[in-house]
């Protein structure tokens, strides 16, 4: 695999985006919150708001696997059937907030030094959206760090493995290539 440039967005920027149907050109909902499994560093899906004059919570959720594309301007789904009642959604979507919260966790390097605090989750957009890292607020500004199964999290601290540290970046654009390189490193480690 080459070190391809990925299209990334902050999870906080996905909030308020319209959910638009490809088969109808209608704005079926609006993203309210991003539901994220901090323990497994995995994007689960989204809770929704209604669109239009009578906005408010929509009694439906959108699983990440039902998304056709996330772009700068909209979250695209094939049709309104992708918006499912919480009772038929995966547990994490039906009861968001039950899991560990990663926001505000101290990010701790393997040598014990505190790097900063988690302020956002970074999502790879496109047809198969997934969480790829975190934005960390440090004393010197924002830092972007790739997520991996080797990270451990307690709800207070997020411990970053030593092998991830060379892939930290200070800008989101550069972080796309960094995530790709980091994945290649993990793949190489798994096969060697």
């Amino acid at each position: 695999m080459s070190d391809q440039q990925l299209n990334l967005m902050r999870a906080s920027d996905v909030g308020k985006l319209p959910v638009v149907t490809i088969d109808g050109g209608e704005d079926a909902a609006e993203i309210r919150d991003v539901v994220y499994d901090a323990e497994h560093h995995d994007l689960i899906g989204f809770t929704l708001n209604k669109r239009g004059w009578f906005r408010g919570t929509l009694n439906a959720t959108l699983a990440a696997s039902d998304v056709s594309g996330i772009g700068r301007d909209a979250v695209m789904v094939s049709d309104e059937g992708c918006l499912k009642a919480p009772s038929s959604s995966v547990a994490a979507l039906a009861r968001p907030g039950d899991d560990l919260d990663v926001m505000g966790n101290h990010v701790v390097a393997s040598n014990g030094s505190v790097i900063g605090r988690v302020v956002d989750v970074i999502i790879e957009t496109g047809a198969h959206p997934r969480a790829v890292g975190y934005e960390v607020e440090t004393a010197d500004g924002s830092m972007f760090i790739p997520s991996s199964a080797q990270m451990s999290i307690s709800g207070d601290n997020l411990v970053v493995p030593a092998e991830a540290e060379e892939f930290f970046r200070s800008d989101l654009v550069g972080f796309g290539a960094s995530v790709s390189s980091f994945r290649n490193r993990l793949d190489d480690s798994a096969t060697s």
């Binding site: 050109g25 209608e26 695209m76």
Partner: protein
Amino acid sequence: MKSVLGNTVVGVDDANDIGLVKHFAVSPSGDRIERVHVDGRGKHAVFVDWDDLESFGGDRVMVTQSSAIAESDNQRDGDIARGSIDILGSRVLDTAGFEHGTVADVDFDGDSGKIESVRTSGGDSIDASKIRSLGSYALVVEPYGG
């Protein structure tokens, strides 16, 4: 399409003015013009089916019979008559979630009503084969590199 808006619609059978071209009722899949909104508003909006048009290209839009115009109880036609679904001026959104301005004009086949291409406010030309749907929020197209 834009140049035909406002043209007078005339019945071939009795030479009466029936109305004006107010809106185009484009199919949900965005591939063809199904009807033309010629008069009235809301529940009293009247349309003429594309198949009842005799000619479209000149100074007047000719309808085979004045009696061909009719009200529609179709919800989508109501939205079209209100202007909430209108291909002209519609937001252009690709299936990856990126906007490409709005629809500035539409080229279509004057005989069949088939949409041939869409021109955007940014100057892009999008072939009709890329169109996926037209709704009240957007004209959805496949990514085209524009």
